[in-house]
Assembly symmetry: C2
Homo-oligomer: 218 residues x 2
């Protein structure tokens, strides 16, 4: 059964692959699972039909027939566990990879995503510059600890896993800042993720969908 | 083997069970697993000995002999999977419960925890009131959607699961606000979680540790 991924019709990221459907596309490409895409407008995302798929009215949502999931971490976990190749077989290494999935989304993403939100929602407020400094200090704390952990390893814990996949998608939100200039091993880690053929295929697919969704009406 | 949980010596929550070690204590109580606790000062959390346990220099950390985890979501997942009783057996229901674990930590917690941080770190800034309104609107959006999903059900998806455990611990950060006054079904959901005997035992244990850590030197 070909799963259906729900994504933005007009992604606010302008086709840079920063929306959270990118995580699902990348995971599906890593495991070699084809998929269909349903593109939704912001208006459609707030309608009952979509709220039945995603209780928070967001993307991504994911369907395999009657089985439906939302929440990027939960969908990537499902794909990883179903197909096996994004989680180690060793039970302890597997639990550590899942721990890194949570660390990406609960310890690193909040500080990084608050900066994304502040740049969009608070740009014209008088406190924007002061808040940005506070947020960037928080991000540097997290990224500095991450760099210390990574050392000169290629991935967070052994082979590439679903934990790395999520961590790289989180850190990519910093590509438009100069923060990673001070953390060259983390910049190289992100680049390693982006260089994976599965990432490249997923990126091209989301860009094609962005261009389709953003094409002027004929 | 009795696991060791690392927690705050002086929790900044004043013993209200809001620090993230509460999630681990509650999960361990739900599955009936005894544990030891290592209490650390803020200074000790930044030392190499603790950074080897927790790369971000935070709590909670968790050890079973040589097997070590950090990150509350990852530790709760480990406990749930190891003991079985906090995740459904049905494969689809199990994946949905794990999805709710991610939803609690990645969709609901960021908005709720930003308010906690703003109340501590930005209380004296000129923008505090304006930011608080923005943050509370974000929280209300999330909680409103959650209430719509929950309806008159007791738990998020069937029986109580690790997803409910994490969601309740996230929503408890709102107990000191009046936000949940407008969402009585969510307030009742939180109260249902807090009424569970395992929660009560975990709460008493963290309070005893707080009182021990905060006792004046003899």
């Amino acid at each position: 059964m070909i799963p259906i991924l729900t994504a933005f019709e007009h992604s606010p990221d302008g086709g840079r692959g920063l929306a959270r459907d990118m995580r699902i596309r990348w995971a599906l490409e890593e495991v070699g699972q084809p998929y269909h895409v349903r593109l939704l407008s912001f208006e459609a995302m707030k309608q009952p039909e979509h709220l039945a798929r995603h209780p928070f009215g967001q993307i991504p949502a994911y369907e395999e027939g009657d089985f439906a999931l939302f929440e990027s971490g939960g969908i990537v976990f499902h794909i990883a566990e179903r197909h096996g190749s994004l989680l180690p077989r060793d039970p302890h290494a597997r639990r550590r990879a899942i721990m890194w999935m949570f660390a990406a989304l609960n310890t690193v993403e909040p500080s990084v995503f608050e900066r994304v939100l502040a740049r969009i929602l608070e740009r014209d407020t008088p406190w924007h510059d002061s808040r940005l400094r506070v947020l960037e200090d928080r991000i540097r704390d997290r990224v500095g600890h991450l760099a210390r952990h990574l050392g000169d390893a290629a991935w967070l814990d052994g082979d590439f896993s679903a934990g790395d996949l999520l961590m790289v998608t989180v850190l990519r939100w910093l590509n438009s800042s100069n923060i990673l200039d001070d953390y060259p091993t983390i910049a190289a880690y992100v680049a390693r993720g982006e260089a994976r053929p599965a990432f490249q295929r997923a990126f091209a697919a989301q860009l094609a969908d962005f261009n389709k969704g953003s094409a002027p009406a004929p």
